[in-house]
Symmetry: C2
Subunit: 536 residues, 2 copies
Amino acid sequence: MDFLQLPESIINKSGGMDKQQEKSAAVRDRGQTTADFCSIYSKDLLPASGGEEITREFLQELLNILLSYISKSSQRSSKILDFHHPHQLKEGLEGFSLDLPDQPETLEQILVDCRDTLKYGVNTGHPRFFNQLSSGLDVIGMAGEWLTSTANTNMFTYEVSPVFILMEEFLLRKMQSIVGWSDDEGDGFFCPGGTISNLYSILVARYHFYPEVKTRGMGLLPQLALFTSEHSHYSVKKSAAVLGMGSDNVVMVKCDERGKMIPAELEACIVTAEEKGLVPFYVNVTAGTTVYGAFDPLIAIADICHKHTLWMHVDAAWGGGLLMSDRHRMKLQGIERAWSVTWNPHKMMGVPLQCSVILVKKRGLLQECNELGAEYLFQTDKPYDVSYDTGDKSIQCGRHVDVFKLWLMWKAKGSEGFGSQVNRCLENAEYLYDQLQRRTDFELVFKNKPEHSNVCFWYIPPSLRGLPPGPDRDTRLHQVAPRIKRRMMEKGSVLIGYQPLGAKVNFFRCVFSNPATQQEDIDFLLDEITRLGDDL
Amino acid sequence: MDFLQLPESIINKSGGMDKQQEKSAAVRDRGQTTADFCSIYSKDLLPASGGEEITREFLQELLNILLSYISKSSQRSSKILDFHHPHQLKEGLEGFSLDLPDQPETLEQILVDCRDTLKYGVNTGHPRFFNQLSSGLDVIGMAGEWLTSTANTNMFTYEVSPVFILMEEFLLRKMQSIVGWSDDEGDGFFCPGGTISNLYSILVARYHFYPEVKTRGMGLLPQLALFTSEHSHYSVKKSAAVLGMGSDNVVMVKCDERGKMIPAELEACIVTAEEKGLVPFYVNVTAGTTVYGAFDPLIAIADICHKHTLWMHVDAAWGGGLLMSDRHRMKLQGIERAWSVTWNPHKMMGVPLQCSVILVKKRGLLQECNELGAEYLFQTDKPYDVSYDTGDKSIQCGRHVDVFKLWLMWKAKGSEGFGSQVNRCLENAEYLYDQLQRRTDFELVFKNKPEHSNVCFWYIPPSLRGLPPGPDRDTRLHQVAPRIKRRMMEKGSVLIGYQPLGAKVNFFRCVFSNPATQQEDIDFLLDEITRLGDDL
């Protein structure tokens, strides 16, 4: 049975066939469907015998729903979110019930549920969604993910994922070469998020220095110390806790006013830790911090790591995307000296979630560190080169296919397309920075020009403008961003994050990773903040 | 602009418009598209201005490709795989190049790449794919995943995932109640695979007994011992290595002939470990082993855990699905006594990859164990109940939305639908078992009726049938399954896994989790093995 045939077999049986046929032809012309989903259930879909047409009609209807969402996503006039409190959604708004039934529901209800799920969600692809480092909706990447879920396989063996395993190899080599490693260096894989990528870096670093830890545990090891900047991602501490090293043994190195690790402070911390009897072994260097978008001085830190024989990891989860731009990649100069690198294409490169990579310079180390050689999965008497069965390199047994969407986007944009996309995001950041400098109702958190696409600022409402610096002003200013954010969420017109940092009270952090964003959206953001906060 | 309008703006401009219009109308009636993708690039898609129609046409064409794949998947006559060696695929078969270009490729090429990716992949939804515990292609689950990637968000906060966060809560409560926990017990989340779920169980168990480990590390702890059966999944050892406990400190408890942990052996191992100065703290009990599908005796082991105050974890990654069946759930009797449970709906319940859950009985423990309170993500001055910001409970910062596809499938099937699906898989296993018992050219690895859907057997080719048991026969029998598997892969007609286990030489393991499989497929499997192995 051909999917492309007319769906006569499941045309709504009610009503005269002539009229029905007319209607069918009309709706078909508009990409609509004609099945009566009110009396059809999931059991009628493929692989049920004769389920081809119903499956086609159902997925066509889903496509229409998704297309309408995608189209709305890119319209500035549409709301980013339609906020409801948890208890409101749980009570079942307009018939949208989260309850899980004993009996099946019709496909009509399933389609309604799909529409409602999107309706009450947050539109992360909207040009005015500035809330997270991951934003936008790349149609090619999304298409890649649709195909991935249709292929529905796992990354553990070449046997079940021949194409995806090879795509991973090609992408890793490409990314390693962009990092600046030679052809005989480099290893890695795609991980479920940047935290897990960072965790892998500490895991292999520990194994590199103390291979006996794998079989015998931490008991025989000295007390290890890790170093990372006070502006770095919390995943270093989290990983140290998980790996049994203790979060207290992660030394938070001081940063300068711009959020960059101070090399002399790192050196001092290493000495202090040694004096306390700890054994330094790992330094996390951030290329693009979460809040300020700062780049630690990679070369100076690489020198220190070299001098003390410490594992140098570069967390470029956020900053890695800049490697794709000829204009900005010099901000990561020195990254080639890293022993491992985290790079999340799902952030600056706009790849749909999730897509994160851990790269390890020393080939084979991940395999040695993690392999257990379970014979029921990794047989050695297979009819192909079993070095392509990469599943034993990772902690995970089954690994989700995160590679295809990036591969497809790379085909569609080329390296140069990613470069221009990154450039545009940084141009947006510079534009916002320029606007803020000109205005008296906003204040920059740091004066320097943005290095990444992060721009941090306070909005100063009229009532605070005359106040002298001090605790009273700080207390009041601290409440401004949360109040404006609350109004933003209620209105749904724009979304931006805020947070305090160190001694600095709540400020807005704007980040640009969505290619849909244009200067008019930045103008709108500032005007909207002013509108929403003017009376505070 | 309406997505459902006719795509006149991008109709192929070449040729007379009258003929073109005719053609357009004709192909539209067949769900085809009319755009000339040879001259269109990804930059022309949304969010590009005026990109609606091109986006619609492109995704419509992708849908046609995916529909054709799904339809083929369910056809018994189609091949499961078209095997090529890694070097063949890397050389670029029939123009399918894995290389990553500098310049963008056309959308036409992108669609060709999508077709080729599916063409050279493995059809895991085929009714005769018996190779992995995860198989089948559930259309509703797949639709859920398409929507998830279109929504493109993260599970860390209610702010960006209000609906998905609540769906996770509803599903976890449901699953906890099915496990048999009371309303005031139970916590958890969706994890990237069963290994990570199992890792979480060890992580919280360690924290429960030694909360200081989080900040101070393993150095102050005694040498801990973990227990699991010799038939259990290797993730327990892998996790012990990762967490700094050492894989050698995982004690492999002996199983009976059927692959079930022997409680008396566990008790003996605990005593021996204590005598060696180790401190037992954790027992992994498998409900559905990977190869034999065996269920450890949960109640007897729960008694031992209770007596020694050990954390009882049940790895029901594979067996958890049986809880959905009134007929089979008694095989997991005692699971309610577990302190934590791993359950992978992506296995027996047929949910697309990935979908795994870690359930922890003691509420709040995951949060305490993993939280670091990063203020830039988890602000406490938000305008809603921030207990719904679940991101700090997990190791991962961003967490992929794995919940929606399961939620949607539950709506579509109801609890009862999952129950019948599981029942049918186990009926298939019993049918295969019955067939094997009747035949003289096959030999069962264990005589007992299957408890789960795993059936393990040897094919004995004519040349081996007269041989007496012993090393010579074993050596030759060991080579039979790999040789047949090689031929299967070349022919692409059926796919089944094999492995050795302990003293047992290579045997086939058949597993049923695909609702598409029917008795005729099982008959075909046996006949095909006979055809392929008759001359060995």
